[in-house]
């Protein structure tokens, strides 16, 4: 019908086509049918729309895929809602204004329809001018190669200049050939797929091998051998990448432990205060991130950067207040300190619950922290963890610098090593104590900023990290920053080595048992302080 329409347009008048637009099979009728169709019918309609030679079909299908396609309840016009909430008519491209929330209704999609749509859109985008879009389209087609028109890939490959896109496209072609009923084509497909690390390739090879019947195993022996060999090669490479991935997971977990524990390494490690409210300092940092983000709703990335000093200040000030108000009076009485700080932690939790409600708060993740960094198709590293590893090391380095290279750091070390001596040298020890506790708390606040990107921002955030933090500090050796670093990383990696073998619950127990045994042997942890400080500790 459409072709007929175009011929008429070419031959006759524009008006004629305008009349025929209401005919069956035009974009107008198909799009309107979407409104009442079931999900299965919608998939058929989408295919018909994609087959039309109409420049409006691609935006319409993309909008449907992204749940941005609506219809107006009264006159059934099809609408596209853009990201900035502006509304246009999908068919006439006119802007539509003054629409109430209840006037339009979304045209629903489900998973299988989304898959169909992605496939249809990718088949169209494979001819896009932008190589990035082409690459994305080709990667999408890899997932649904069975539904791809082989001719489209063939033509796209013939004119493709970009190497990366070519590589993926030839894999798509390989997958299509693998499903062929011609032995020669299947062999061609196997050759094309050899050595590729894409999970879809592995899955298809697996299916291919399992599809052999007993007779075929003999009659098509060479194909089977070829497939088994490439699969074995791929598996070896994949499992090697698996080890690297696991190591990365371990380091990432270690970085989280490190961030949570650095603050405690100062308050507990250097000052010797058993600070049960440490977790709540982390929580305050996370809530600060939330508040900053509420103040800068348009700049998520910037708000995160601003949150780092803000969280340091908030948690630091609260820390100083706690030290001056409570802990100052309890030095040298560890049991009372423990109880008092535990009480403070409960007070802080309930305070947050009353102010912000017990519900978790939403902290948005900036775009540059989402997704993965692809080393190869079998090894993808998540960006957010990568940033947190770097961030934790930066915080540690900065802290080491403060302790080793500044006057405050010197005074702090002097006070913790020998208080009367430092005092007689003119250092205001009380002041240094307060600032040291504030520093430790402030760093816990910074950890909260990072954790807000990984986990719930809620009143109980701190509880989840307090045990881990003590574990790291005790294991690493009290009062030693390097010890904290090594302990955090090795506990992280150990946890991730045990986890695939024993499950998450048992892995945690195993790590705890290991630490108990280790502390029996070396009560002062990995890196024990030597010299006079030991006597005071």
């Amino acid at each position: 019908m459409m072709i007929l329409c175009r011929q008429i347009v070419a031959a006759l008048l524009l008006m004629m086509c305008a009349l025929s637009q209401a005919q069956e099979g035009s974009l107008e009728t198909l799009a309107t049918q979407l409104i009442d169709a079931s999900y299965r019918e919608k998939a058929v309609l989408a295919e018909q729309i994609a087959a039309l030679d109409d420049e409006r079909s691609l935006p319409l299908l993309s909008a449907l895929l992204n749940s941005a396609l609506y219809y107006k309840k009264d006159d059934q016009r099809i609408l596209i809602v853009a990201e900035d909430d502006s509304i246009t008519d999908a068919l006439s491209n006119e802007a539509v204004e003054n629409l109430g929330r209840r006037d339009k209704k979304k045209i629903g999609v489900n998973n299988s329809l989304r898959r169909t749509l992605r496939n249809l859109i990718s088949q169209a985008q494979i001819n896009s001018r932008n190589p990035d879009i082409r690459l994305q389209a080709a990667t999408n087609l890899l997932k649904s190669s069975a539904d791809v028109e082989p001719e489209i890939i063939h033509q796209a490959l013939a004119k493709e200049q970009n190497d990366a896109v070519r590589e993926v496209l030839s894999l798509v072609q390989g997958l299509i050939l693998l499903a062929s009923d011609q032995a020669a084509e299947r062999r061609q497909g196997l050759a094309a797929l050899d050595g590729s690390l894409y999970p879809q390739v592995r899955a298809s090879l697996n299916q291919f091998i399992q599809g052999f019947s007993e007779e075929e195993k003999i009659s098509r022996r060479d194909e089977l051998k070829m497939a088994e060999k490439s699969l074995a090669d791929i598996e070896t490479l994949v499992s090697m990448n698996g080890y690297i991935e696991n190591l990365y997971f371990g380091l990432a977990l270690g970085a989280v432990l490190l961030l949570a524990a650095i603050g405690l390494a100062i308050t507990f490690g250097v000052m010797g205060v058993i600070n049960m409210a440490h977790g709540e300092m982390i929580m305050l940092g996370a809530y600060t991130t939330y508040v900053v983000q509420q103040l800068l709703p348009q700049h998520i990335g910037l708000s995160l950067v601003v949150s780092v000093p803000a969280a340091f200040l908030v948690s630091g000030v609260v820390g100083v207040a706690i030290e001056r108000g409570v802990i100052r009076h309890l030095y040298g009485r560890p049991l009372e300190t423990l109880l008092a700080t535990f009480g403070i932690s409960l007070v802080l939790q309930q305070a947050v619950r009353s102010i912000f409600s017990p519900l978790n708060r939403e902290v948005a993740t900036p775009e540059w922290m989402a997704g993965t960094f692809m080393v190869n198709p079998a090894l993808e590293l998540t960006w957010n963890r990568l940033y947190i590893i770097i961030f934790s090391l930066l915080v540690l380095a900065l802290l080491a610098l403060v302790l080793k290279r500044t006057l405050f750091g010197l005074q702090m070390r002097a006070v913790t090593m020998n208080r009367p001596m430092a005092s007689s040298m003119g250092i205001r020890t009380g002041w240094v104590d307060a600032l040291t506790f504030g520093l430790g708390s402030g760093i816990a606040g910074i950890a909260g900023v990072a954790l807000s990107q990984l986990t719930n921002v809620g009143p109980n955030l701190g509880q989840a990290y307090i045990i881990d933090s003590f574990m790291v500090v005790v294991f690493g050796g009290v009062g030693n920053l390097w010890g904290t670093l090594v302990a955090a990383m090795s506990l992280g990696v150990a946890n991730k080595i045990f986890e695939p073998l024993a499950g998450a619950v048992l892995a945690k127990i195993l790590v705890l048992v290991f630490i108990i045994l280790f502390i029996q042997k070396r009560p002062r942890g990995l890196f024990a302080l030597k010299g006079r400080a030991v006597d005071n500790a």
């Binding site: 999900y39 749940s67 979304k106 629903g108 489900n110 998973n111 989304r114 992605r118 997932k143 999970p199 879809q200 592995r202 899955a203 697996n206 299916q207 698996g242 991935e245 997971f249 990432a252 977990l253 989280v256 508040v291 309930q350 619950r353 009353s354 102010i355 409600s357 017990p358 519900l359 978790n360 708060r361 939403e362 902290v363 948005a364 993740t365 989402a370 997704g371 993965t372 993808e380 998540t382 960006w383 957010n384 963890r385 990984l454 986990t455 719930n456 921002v457 809620g458 009143p459 109980n460 509880q463 989840a464 946890n495 991730k496 986890e499 695939p500 499950g503 998450a504 619950v505 945690k508």
Partner: protein, 433 residues
């Protein structure tokens, strides 16, 4: 910020004051009001979920009072805080029944808290409505279960994935406690009865509040990359879901490849984060806020007016509380008294509207008949209902898919009058009345 702090503080103190006042004047006015106990955690880990239910009960009480109360008396809520502390639940339940002499209790969320309250309620012959989906394998004379039993949530969800999505490989992931363990045991035996091989089922448990999901998500990805359609059935508990879904999104596990169907994730849990990367993952419930019915529109409107925040969402346990409360009110009117035994007898067979446009019925086993819905997560944190059961599903207290409970039924009407009646040996396993 400080302002809101004071506001909610003063709100809290008001609640305390009314509670104290209620306790004080209860002696003088004992006969004039009907007391409704609310046993939900307002502090501690579970406060996140349970506070909402406390507000729901208060809203329902408020409305009933506006309609003139019950039996000519006003309803009076008695709110206590068991603080997410399981033994404290039992103590507070005793306090409600013995000291405050409440006529009914709405309460509990986790199964451990329910199990802790159970002996107290049975000893003192109290009446409790439990509004949360749970693992089944229980039926008490003194408890009405208005949340979903496994056959009203887990089994239909698995059926949907098997038949409509064509899933052949299964990951059963859960938090390590009684609800996920029992549900997964039921599901595993159900899947095996449907011909799924043991190697196509991966079972994984994680501690409460687990936050590092890297390895597990990566394992799921590997398990799902054999070319056979794979789905994750998640009984992961509330709080741990946020990092789980974040990790899924980050590692690029999309719902089109490996859909995750969750039994503990509703509108409220999703209100904590950006759902754009999660579009298409599933949840199975008996109610979604997006349900298209007049009752639902009214309920949402009332809720927003009551809570004074029109961004607050509604969820399935709230609907279960709504149904439970209305059924209790209806049963009290039918029985003409708040006496537990009479109300219990009146409850069975009671029908009230549910929020999805149908009627909920209370069955002989103290469980409801309700529709089961499957929803896909949308980018606005709501669910789009993609499937629902043809009719109502009657809650089954004792699952048919475990050998130890296959022959058990619960029937609280004469002549059986037993919570775990063995249909083969014709004996009652203990909880008789």
């Amino acid at each position: 910020m400080k302002k809101t702090g004071f506001k909610s503080l003063s709100k809290a103190s008001k609640v305390l004051a009314t509670a104290a006042l209620a306790a004080g004047i209860s002696l003088a006015h004992a006969a004039d009001t009907i007391k409704v106990g609310v046993l939900h955690s307002l502090s501690g880990t579970m406060a996140i979920s349970e506070t909402t239910l406390k507000d729901t009960v208060l809203m329902m009480v408020d409305q009933q009072n506006k309609k003139g109360g019950l039996l000519g008396k006003k309803l009076e809520p008695v709110v206590v805080d068991p603080a997410s502390n399981w033994p404290l639940f039992a103590e507070k339940a005793r306090e409600l029944l013995e000291k405050d002499k409440v006529d009914v209790i709405f309460g509990c969320w986790t199964s451990v808290s329910r199990k802790s309250v159970l002996p107290v309620i049975e000893e003192l012959n109290g009446l409790m409505f439990y509004p949360v989906q749970y693992e089944g394998e229980e039926s008490s004379y003194n408890v009405f279960y208005t949340g979903a039993a496994p056959n009203q949530q887990a089994i239909p969800a698995v059926d949907y994935l098997m038949k409509d999505v064509g899933v052949k490989r299964w990951v059963l992931a859960g938090t390590d406690y009684v609800y996920p363990r029992t549900t997964n045991k039921i599901l595993e035996s159900y899947l095996k009865s449907k011909g799924v091989a043991g190697k196509d089922i991966m079972i994984n448990y994680t501690p409460f509040g687990h936050s590092d999901w890297q390895t597990i998500v990566s394992d799921i990805k590997k398990f799902g990359s054999t070319g056979v359609k794979t789905a994750v059935v998640s009984t992961i508990n509330g709080d741990a879901n946020v990092p789980f879904y974040k990790e899924l999104a980050n590692q690029g596990v999309s719902a089109e490849d490996i859909p995750v169907v969750a039994f503990s994730v509703g509108e409220e849990e999703l209100s904590g984060f950006d759902t754009a990367p999660l579009v298409g993952h599933l949840a199975a419930w008996n109610y979604f806020m997006s349900a298209d019915s007049k009752e639902n529109d009214d309920f949402i409107k009332q809720w927003h007016a009551f809570i004074k925040d029109d961004k607050r969402v509604t969820n399935d346990p709230m609907e279960a509380t709504y149904i439970g409360f209305n059924m209790w009110a209806k049963a009290v009117e039918k029985a003409g008294t708040t006496d537990v035994d009479k109300v219990e007898a009146a409850m069975i067979g009671i029908e009230t509207p549910n929020l999805t446009g149908g009627m909920a019925t209370m069955n002989k086993n103290h469980h409801l008949s309700k529709p089961v819905l499957i929803g896909e997560i949308q980018d606005d944190g709501q669910f789009d209902i993609v499937w629902e059961t043809d009719g109502l599903v009657a809650g089954d207290a004792w699952t048919d898919y475990l050998p130890e409970s296959k022959n058990l039924i619960s029937d609280w009407t004469a002549p059986v009058k037993c919570g775990n009646y063995n249909t083969v040996t014709k004996t009652c396993g203990g909880a008789a009345k």
